[in-house]
């Protein structure tokens, strides 16, 4: 008994060392992942942001077609950086809807004119109510939604060129 107890401090040290080492070696993940992935989209009804592009509501999403929902804003710089990738996704047949967070119609119209408009619909989320309901912690974020309005995947941050094939694959998978 005494013999075994003698080793206890060393064992405690090894345990502490293992905890610290694993914390140091593990890549840091400061992203806040939405817990809504795998669940149904929350009910929402967002008015149109700019004339010519309709708004976004739950009813219009349940048409059996998988799509991307891009949470973006004209004041967000990574959103500008990802716009060529969104245009590429659109060209390759992806259906993309958008939620404009805390923005004005004028700014969004100018943004679309400058960077192109890959969106079928753009909902106006002026008070970030829908963003909070989605579990989104910033802009840009992109959600893959299946034909029944279920969230399949969340992409946090701007879409890089290397992310485009993954998102297309996720859309194809959601189509079943």
């Amino acid at each position: 008994m005494k013999r075994a107890l003698l080793w206890l401090p060393l064992a405690a040290f090894v345990l502490l060392f293992a905890v610290v080492a694993s914390g140091l070696l593990k890549p840091n993940d400061h992203l806040v992942h939405s817990q809504m992935v795998g669940k149904q989209l929350p009910h929402f009804d967002l008015p149109a942001m700019v004339p010519g592009t309709p708004g976004l509501d739950t009813a219009r999403l349940a048409d059996g077609k998988p799509r991307l929902i891009n949470v973006f804003a004209s004041w967000c710089i990574p959103c500008m950086a990802e716009s060529p990738q969104l245009m590429a996704l659109k060209q390759q047949g992806a259906e993309i809807d958008a939620v404009a967070v805390r923005d004005t119609p004028q700014n969004i119209a100018a943004f679309l004119q400058r960077f192109g408009n890959p969106y079928t619909r753009i909902g106006d989320d002026r008070q970030s109510a829908f963003q909070l309901a989605l579990g989104s912690s910033g802009v840009p974020e992109t959600y893959v939604i299946d034909g029944k309005g279920r969230i399949v995947e969340q992409h946090i941050g701007d879409i890089r060129p290397e992310d485009v094939p993954d998102l297309l694959a996720a859309l194809n998978k959601a189509a079943g």
């Binding site: 817990q35 809504m36 004041w75 109510a129 909070l132 912690s137």
Partner: protein, 177 residues
């Protein structure tokens, strides 16, 4: 979040202290030309700052009314305040939404106050946020397999302390008798 960035030449403009030390060094190295060298640097920095287009990476919209306005009912405001102290701002992750000036924290405060004013229970609001952001959003971690060590460690340590105390008291008594 991207903050304000302006092109600054590394090492040339770093607050009053850094600037002074740089100037002193320049004067020592440079001969008669040193004075114009310093002016040149300042001119360069001034021109750079003048032409810097500050990149505004924040919403042009004003914060929601309840983000910075207390509820009229002091009891409800106290409830909301207590809840906001224990909800994490998901943008500035080391702060609660009560402490943070981030736009999103303001929107979250407004949401908390609106719901409290509507008569919702603080625990229900916390639960609603946990469903969306996970336990991470709450500074009041629930008991689960992951957090169990956090809750149990004090009890285990207390037990260990009592055991050590008992053993040492026993030893002393034995020595005295």
């Amino acid at each position: 979040m991207v903050g304000l960035r302006s092109p600054v030449i590394p090492g040339s403009f770093r607050g009053p202290l850094g600037r002074r030390s740089r100037r002193v060094r320049l004067m020592r190295i440079g001969g008669p030309r040193n004075k114009s060298g310093v002016t040149g640097w300042f001119l360069l920095v001034a021109v750079a700052l003048f032409h810097a287009a500050p990149v505004l990476a924040d919403t042009p919209l004003p914060p929601a009314r309840l983000a910075y306005t207390q509820l009229p009912d002091p009891h409800q405001e106290a409830q909301a305040e207590a809840l906001m102290q224990t909800l994490r701002c998901v943008v500035c992750q080391g702060q609660s939404i009560a402490q943070s000036d981030a736009d999103m924290a303001g929107q979250m405060r407004a949401m908390v106050r609106e719901r409290i004013a509507r008569g919702e229970k603080p625990s229900a609001i916390r639960q609603w946020l946990i469903q969306r952001y996970g336990d991470y959003v709450s500074y009041d971690p629930p008991l689960s397999a992951v957090t169990a060590p956090l809750w149990l460690a004090p009890l285990v340590l207390l037990g260990l302390g009592a055991w050590i105390a008992r053993a040492s008291f026993k030893r002393r008594r034995r020595r005295q008798s």
